[in-house]
Amino acid sequence: MQNLKLTLEPTLQQARAAAMVASSIARAYYCIATGNTCPPVSRFVQAVELSVGEACTNSIQHRPKKKRGNVLLTFEFDQDSFYIKIRDRNEQLDFDNTPAPDLNRIQERGYGLHIIKTAMDDASYERVDGWNILSLRKSCPMEV
């Protein structure tokens, strides 16, 4: 299983960069996994880009004032799926119990996690000795 690690300075610019890198890796993966050329508008790529963007933005916005810990990003992939891990040293977050935004009410914040959970096939969170680890999986897009 090949994998690729990135370290992000905790700035929103870096979060953006991460999202863009994610999208291009996702494109490459799409071609390798399906053997097709990736369409310009691909749900798969969009989902990955969005989720990584959201996740990184989240960890950067929620980092404690003093600590300037970096955000670690890992991409892994096999035939079936594309895996992403986002690690940071922020306070523990209550991933599973954060309420989904009421989509019928007009609401300004709190879409981040919702987007991740809905766009990805699996999104799980764990806290391992001081690290928040968010593991995302998007299964390989079907050939058209």
């Binding site: 929103l12 979060a15 953006r16 989902a47 007009i106």
Partner: protein, 112 residues
């Protein structure tokens, strides 16, 4: 993200280009804050290639402000590339979407 504004009798047409993500959020907020506030906004998004919850958040808060002044926000020329993000967050139900900017602008005058 580049932002251009054209304000004609209390309708602001805001044309966006580039990535509308959390990093661009402040820029957007600043851009829409100025002494004279129009009632209605049309956000022309043809040139936007990425939007995330940060960007969507901006649009919603703009809508909130507009509604306070009994105005509204409409979206024009939204590229299919970023439509997905709107669907994921059901934003497509909050904003009226037009595939033509002119029509979006006219729609205000039509309703008034």
């Amino acid at each position: 993200m580049t932002i251009t504004k054209i304000i004609t009798n209390d309708i602001a047409v805001i044309t966006l280009q580039g990535r509308f993500d959390s990093a661009a959020a402040d820029q957007f907020r600043k851009a829409v804050q100025h002494d004279f506030l129009p009632a209605h906004y049309v956000i022309e998004m043809e040139g936007v290639n990425y939007i995330d919850s940060g960007g969507l958040g901006c649009l919603v808060s703009l809508l909130r402000q507009a509604q306070k002044r009994s105005g509204t926000v409409k979206i024009a020329r939204i590229p299919s590339k970023i439509f997905y993000a709107f669907e994921l967050t059901r934003m497509n139900r909050i904003f009226d979407m037009y595939d033509d900017t002119g029509m979006a602008v006219n729609s205000f005058t039509a309703t008034n």
